[in-house]
């Protein structure tokens, strides 16, 4: 199941909803057993993460946990949860909320800036153009960059305090 972050909800409503979604967890630990990150990072334990969200008194308290950004989005926990919890999606929501208050990791800030400036995540460089030419591949162009930037600015929730999406 996927759904777009419910941008219309306020933070208290979001916290209530997250708790309702996670309330069915019976702490079997399958999520932690299947988590590719937990295998290599002791403090990213999805089962305990779910518990801490259930006990949290605010969204901001949850966002203090830097493991919000540790999910590799492999979806294995979602796939294996017998209770149908989509924890991958919960973390997507938390990452979005974290970005709204500027708490995203530096690398993410840079990626967002690059995508905005170039329409790409790997910017075109002279070496790439040379390689492409040698392979007889066409030049890369991103048409309508201005339109794309306008679109990002209008719908995006990062970097601006005015959220046009939410105003609707």
């Amino acid at each position: 199941m996927v759904s777009i972050v419910a941008a219309q909800q306020g933070r208290e409503e979001i916290l209530d909803r997250l708790k309702r979604e996670l309330y069915v967890c019976f702490e079997c630990g399958k999520c932690s057993g299947s988590c590719v990150v937990f295998r290599v990072k002791d403090d990213m334990n999805p089962r305990l993460f779910v518990s801490s969200i259930l006990e949290a008194s605010s969204i901001d308290e949850i966002l203090e946990d830097e493991n919000v950004w540790s999910c590799a989005i492999c979806y294995d926990c979602t796939e294996r949860c017998d209770q149908g919890i989509d924890f991958t999606h919960t973390l997507f929501e938390l990452k979005n909320l974290s970005t709204e208050i500027g708490k995203q990791p530096q690398a993410i800030k840079e990626e967002l800036a690059t995508l905005h400036a170039t329409g790409r995540t790997s910017p075109i460089n002279a070496r790439a153009l040379k390689k492409r030419e040698a392979l007889d591949l066409p030049e890369i162009q991103v048409p309508d960059l201005e339109a794309i930037q306008g679109l990002i600015d209008r719908v995006t929730s990062y970097g601006t305090s005015e959220k046009k999406v939410k105003e609707e």
């Binding site: 996927v2 759904s3 777009i4 972050v5 941008a7 590719v36 990150v37 295998r39 290599v40 990072k41 950004w69 540790s70 590799a72 989005i73 492999c74 979806y75 294995d76 979602t78 796939e79 973390l91 997507f92 929501e93 979005n96 970005t99 990791p105 530096q106 690398a107 993410i108 990626e111 967002l112 995508l115 329409g119 790409r120 995540t121 790997s122 910017p123 075109i124 790439a128 390689k131 492409r132 392979l135 007889d136 591949l137 066409p138 890369i140 162009q141 991103v142 048409p143 309508d144 339109a147 794309i148 306008g150 679109l151 990002i152 209008r154 719908v155 995006t156 929730s157 990062y158 999406v165």
Partner: protein, 298 residues
């Protein structure tokens, strides 16, 4: 009438591994998957960090890419797990939720776009598996690569979410194994097939976690005597190839393991000269493999 296919190459291949774009353009039509002339998509956009940061802009920008294909009356074949993950997820969300589609179209209208929902997106491995099929694929193999003991790594974002990507069983994937077997490769079944390469941790500044994931994976393949990893994603490829070079000191328990992108091996199995695969540009090379790829006795 079958729709034409547009190649969704993706930022990373276009810039870092353009030879994979070349291989796709040359090889896919030879096995029956026609590819139309290149059009300029933008970033898919990237499904881990960018979507993590801003879910709705991710959807709108993906919809814009889908519109470009729809305007050409075409379907999409992607060369990257990340691109396919974004495009497939966004596509299904828009196709199944009229209210969401309307909302996205209101935003797209500002730049003169409108998405109807008619595009089909597939990863190239999926297109080969479903449309060409294993039997026909085998008929193109003139040089079986039976000397390779390959560990498949389909990759998280091609397998999941399985109900949308519909590629394979995400907990016990076999499709890439079967595609490798069709080229004559000895398929190594190993515990840890679904372990992540770790690249998405690096993109969120967690270098330590990323290296540990890489190491865990390589130790798993080594335990089962695989002599190479085989992938269909340029991000997994980069993590295994460049990642092993960059973190050599941290990986001292690990045998350097070469990684090949499936199309390179498809090309070799179809008789493509070794030079055209660009395998000699990889950071982690196996001299024994390269001699065999060139048709020399090892």
């Amino acid at each position: 009438m079958t729709k034409p296919n547009l190649l969704f190459t993706g930022c990373l291949i276009e810039v870092n591994y353009p030879y994979l774009e070349k291989l796709a353009n040359d090889l896919l039509p030879k096995i029956g998957l026609g590819i139309s002339d290149r059009i300029e998509f933008m970033c898919c956009p990237e499904p881990i960090s960018f979507r993590g940061a801003t879910d709705y802009s991710w959807l709108v920008l993906a919809a814009r890419n889908l519109c470009l294909a729809e305007q050409k009356g075409a379907n999409i074949i992607s060369l990257c797990n990340g691109c396919e993950n974004t495009l497939a997820q966004a596509n299904i969300m828009l196709q199944n939720d009229p209210e969401l589609l309307e909302k996205v179209n209101r935003d797209l209208a500002e730049i003169g776009f409108n998405y109807k929902g008619t595009v089909k997106t597939r990863h190239f491995l999926q297109a080969i598996y479903e449309e060409v099929g294993l039997e026909k694929l085998k008929s193109f193999v003139t040089r079986p690569l039976s000397f390779l003991k390959g560990a498949s790594h389909a990759g998280c974002h091609l397998l999941n979410p399985a109900d949308i990507l519909k590629f394979d069983d995400p907990l016990d994937p076999v499709v890439l194994d079967e595609l490798m077997d069709a080229l004559g490769i000895e398929v190594i079944d190993y515990e840890g097939k679904t372990l992540c390469c770790g690249v998405s941790l690096a993109t969120a500044d967690d270098r330590e976690g990323s290296i540990n994931a890489l190491k865990t994976k390589l130790l798993a393949t080594q335990k089962y005597d695989a002599d190479c990893l085989i992938v269909g994603c340029p991000f997994c490829f980069k993590q295994y190839d460049v990642g092993q070079r960059l973190n050599r000191k941290r990986l001292d328990e690990v045998e350097p393991t070469p990684v090949y992108y499936y199309l390179q091996l498809l090309g070799l199995a179809m008789g493509l000269p070794f030079e055209e695969t660009s395998i000699s540009t990889h950071k982690i090379k196996s001299q024994a493999h390269m001699a065999l790829f060139k048709g020399e006795e090892a």
